[in-house]
Symmetry: C3
Subunit: 457 residues, 3 copies
């Protein structure tokens, strides 16, 4: 019955799409395509920035391999295929919906490129389907870069709710993230919306998405993990948690390395231009913050436990990456180091708080890595920005206005994500259900949902 509902929705969606295509195809035969000469200096500038955007988009796409490795390494063998399927298909579904709906909502009205003219401070409404005016090189380059960001949010979410979440509900939720939740907030910050134009400081600034991508993904993960409940056996009757060791920690380390590799594109690509020389600073800060996050976690935990917990170190590096994502363009290298060190401490505190106090079960630590440090990243702009880029000035220059703008951004992000996130999880629980049956969970989801095991001898 439920599956039938999905089917109907999908079939309906498909028919609508095809009809839309058929109608649009007439228009498409006279598209708004312009071939730029590039035999002159301005044409070359466009060409090099186009190359930069595309190559960065490819690197960000490759983070999917990083998320897949990282996540699957943390899990039990019997549920790995389920996570891999979620991780693979959420970007397929999310990317598809972002093409149909999300991109137009997010960048409509931003005037960032042709075909993105319609929109207001709260929502955009042009550029859907990359059709009509939006069918051109510049707009599609931006689309490709942005869709990779949208699907990153889904990947973050997938890690926190794995090993007990329903596959179909995950795909529906991914469609919701990429179609509504992410694009609307993104529009407010990046698409010409009200947050980016706040009258404090230079308006809320989130350079590459500490808040828009990671904070949002981490907060959705928080809400999702809370509502689906902990994995069977995670908490003892007295409320103390059990630790489930990952089945392959090589994957965790490799996944982290691939993620950092992609993060260079994520952060430095967000300038959308390599003729903006600040990109060099951004890439450097990203690396410095990553290693500082790893080292701060190592030092802090080693002197307590006398063992070097490499999975914690990996998450520390990622926490550093998340935190610098908003501020990398605005701060000097020494500040990137301090931001990374603090990110490590926030990670440790948040991991403890989520697992032991709130008793929320997050198998890969996504809530703490992306959620808590996403918020810290937003605030770090208001603290460490030194005024050398775009005029953004933080506390270290003696001005508190930017920090106020960042704080408003944090509050808005939390309110928007948790409230809308709750609503949709609630609706999903009442209709499709959030959780696999206990039988599947205890015997392994792979066989039931995917018809095979991940590993076979």
């Amino acid at each position: 019955m439920k599956a039938k509902n999905i089917k109907n929705v999908l079939v309906l969606l498909f028919i609508v799409t095809v009809v839309f295509f058929a109608w649009k195809s007439v228009e498409a035969s006279v598209p708004g395509w312009t071939v730029s000469g590039s035999g002159n200096v301005m044409g070359l500038k466009d060409a090099i920035n186009l190359a930069w955007i595309l190559l960065s988009a490819f690197l960000v796409f490759n983070m999917q391999a990083g998320f897949a490795f990282l996540g699957v390494g943390f899990l039990k063998k019997k549920n790995t295929l389920n996570y891999l399927a979620m991780s693979f298909l959420d970007f397929c579904v999310g990317g598809f919906v972002f093409w149909i709906l999300g991109f137009g909502v997010m960048y409509g009205g931003s005037y960032l490129s042709a075909g993105l003219e319609k929109g207001n401070s709260f929502i955009g409404y042009s550029g859907f389907f990359l059709n009509g005016e939006a069918y051109n090189a510049s707009t599609s380059a931006i689309w490709l870069f942005q869709v990779m960001f949208a699907i990153t949010s889904c990947a973050i979410f997938a890690g926190a709710i794995t090993e007990r979440f329903k596959f179909t509900s995950h795909l529906i939720y991914s469609a919701f993230i990429c179609g509504i939740l992410y694009p609307v907030f993104g529009h407010w910050v990046w698409g010409g919306g009200w947050l980016g134009n706040l009258p404090f400081g230079e308006g809320m600034k989130d350079f590459a998405g500490s808040g828009v991508v990671h904070g949002l993904g981490g907060l959705v993960a928080f809400m999702g993990a809370r509502m689906v409940g902990p994995r069977f056996g995670k908490y003892n009757p007295d409320g103390t948690p059990n630790s489930f060791p990952g089945h392959n920690l090589t994957y965790v380390v490799i996944g982290t390395l691939i993620l950092i590799f992609g993060w260079f594109g994520f952060n430095a690509g967000s300038s959308l231009a390599v003729t903006e020389f600040r990109v060099a600073m951004i890439a450097t800060n990203t690396f410095l913050s990553a290693i500082s996050g790893a080292l701060s976690v190592l030092v802090a935990s080693y002197f307590r436990t006398r063992v070097s917990d490499i999975t914690l170190v990996c998450n520390g590096a990622l926490a550093g990456c998340v935190a610098i994502t908003a501020s990398g363009a605005y701060v000097p290298p020494w500040a990137a180091v301090i931001i990374g060190i603090i990110a490590g401490f926030i990670l440790k505190a948040s991991l403890f708080w989520v697992e032991f106090k709130l008793r929320i079960d997050d198998p890969v630590g996504a809530i703490s890595v992306h959620g808590a440090n996403g918020l810290w990243g937003l605030l770090s702009v208001g603290v460490f920005a030194d005024g050398t880029y775009m005029g953004v000035k933080g506390l270290i220059t003696g001005s508190g206005w930017q920090l106020l703008a960042q704080f408003i951004g944090c509050v808005t992000l939390i309110a928007w994500t948790l409230s809308l996130g709750y609503l949709v999880f609630y609706l999903l629980r009442r209709t499709f259900g959030l959780r696999v049956p206990l039988k599947e969970e205890s015997r392994g989801i792979d066989i039931y949902e995917h018809g095979m095991s991940c590993y076979n001898d």
Copy 2:
């Protein structure tokens, strides 16, 4: 005796090469190298396009890691090392032969760069060894990009014939593919040959190699898998197939992701210029077609079996990539989605047809992913090209001439590949043999051919 033959051939080849080098080295001390100023606009244009070609070539090389992961995941543990060795060494052998012979055959007469002047409509004959006039930056950049394409054909082939093919025969066949089979057909389409100059439409168009690379690789795989026969135990006496589960499906998913990452370079790099702004469209279409292929397979199979077969979904994404490879430059985004959706259905039909009707054993599905969808990709140009790029107009613009050219290309590809492929497999079977002894196959090839196991505790 047979090994001695190989040895003699290799030693002979080596001696000839060294003598050739010694002779050419005199010439090389006064090479045709020109350092371009690049202090002016045209020099900068060359520089940025050089960067684009090289970076794309690096990405396409990385697809080797994707093919290795994907293939090995589908296999039984006892044959993994054999596949990895094939997969690694076929690109070494193929690349070497492409340097000596293939490149000159393929691009001689194309006038694409210095040193490629000699050739006719059927075959090229200049640029061998990248020596003489061909020893310059521009020609070697093109060589590097093209050699990555040539070795991709070998990688496709390796997947279909693994777990029973002889190691030495595989290497010989790879040399044949990169030296003759691929370059000659490639010359016809891309090197200034007769297919690219057909008097219908704009001549046969295969933007990045749906046919030249993937179709050819898939059709060779078809012929190879047919002639070597199915793996022991694959078919029951009554002709029904058994399914052999892959030993590590994590590798399959990761491999697919790495392949898509590389495919961006494969398709968008094939413009050989980022000053050709259409590259943005190509990259976008590649992603859209990949996710559409995955989703179409998911939807189609889920409603039949109620399980989400992730290996099928991965192959669906790759089928979408293959299909858009020829047409990505010429079609609008909505068409890329439709091309991907159809690719998914073709994949499913072909998998069924190959395994159940033809009873050909293809462990990784290479015939259906690359062969069947390579042909579909060629045809899709004739259907969906909207006339906005290079004047290529498909059925949707009301013209059928381009489709005719594409159809001729398909027929030629099938005839060339299957006939020559058959001939060489036949010769190999009569000399070195195609198949490992049954004892090796049933106990695992790794120990016999490589002296060790892939996994050791």
Copy 3:
């Protein structure tokens, strides 16, 4: 007690750093940052070269994933997490120290970019912390590229001493490599020092670091593996070695592929400019030498043992990469092939010599791949450079002066690395100790040092 010492050192370092930051932050609020117009030809030239440097740096970073895969595949399961932790944290520690100290030592006085003015022929002393004048786009781009090289040295070292080296000592040694050992020698060759200005030929030339990075890393590995001694059970009482099979050879092959992928950035990026069209030649030579190294090892070993040892083939490809790293820019393609073929033979000879004659235990073969072939790479410049780039002329042009310069470079490298390396290993052995207790080694280091196993069911 010992751990307490580390703690004190770290805390002290941290305090000093923070105080330094606080003091510098005043300065940082008026940084030497210049936004370049890039609306003109020179600005565009800077932009495209900036993109080239950054993307190459990202590729070189990704080699860490390659080293992690390669190394871990060669090991026993029980020590994998230890190696992964070493491999991950040595780049964190090394990168941090390179930021504080190493970069200023290496490039101070090179005038390569703003803020690098102070230094002499033996040592540099400006650019520390990327602060003051060094806080600008150009300098930080160079820093990012160079830090990836520094940490590569550590990764090479980690492979040779794994499965018995102390974790803390490894991190201290990594700090020493990236802070002193590597930067001082690097300064001599690349930072304006005396080796690069030798009055023979064009001065010692090491284009991308056959000697500076790989030779140095390999020689340190030699000294480290010698002083820590072989793994328990590696040598029988009669001195014959036992072979320990790697636990997952899939990782070895994939790691090799990822390393070659990164090597393109390593070598072609070392021009620091894509407007220097020679980069195309460099990338092509890198690929040719890699496949030639693999094939030469295959042919040489196959006819002796009748099995194709894929791990040896992988190391052959890497040996080819190492050897061409110094000479790739100066030699024609045919010479790259010969350099690769010779690299394969050197690899085999060195592996035999190290394992059977010197009885040094090198689990991954780093000494032979990087050390022996690093030296060969340096010499190959003096043999095969054909005078078409930067006027560097080797023996094949009839001049022996360049070879003399290269030879002096080799001798200096060996003397510097082995003497200083010995000194520091000696000090470490007397203080922290080099080796884990026998109990840990025989039962597996992972549990003791990292509190968990890498693989859990």
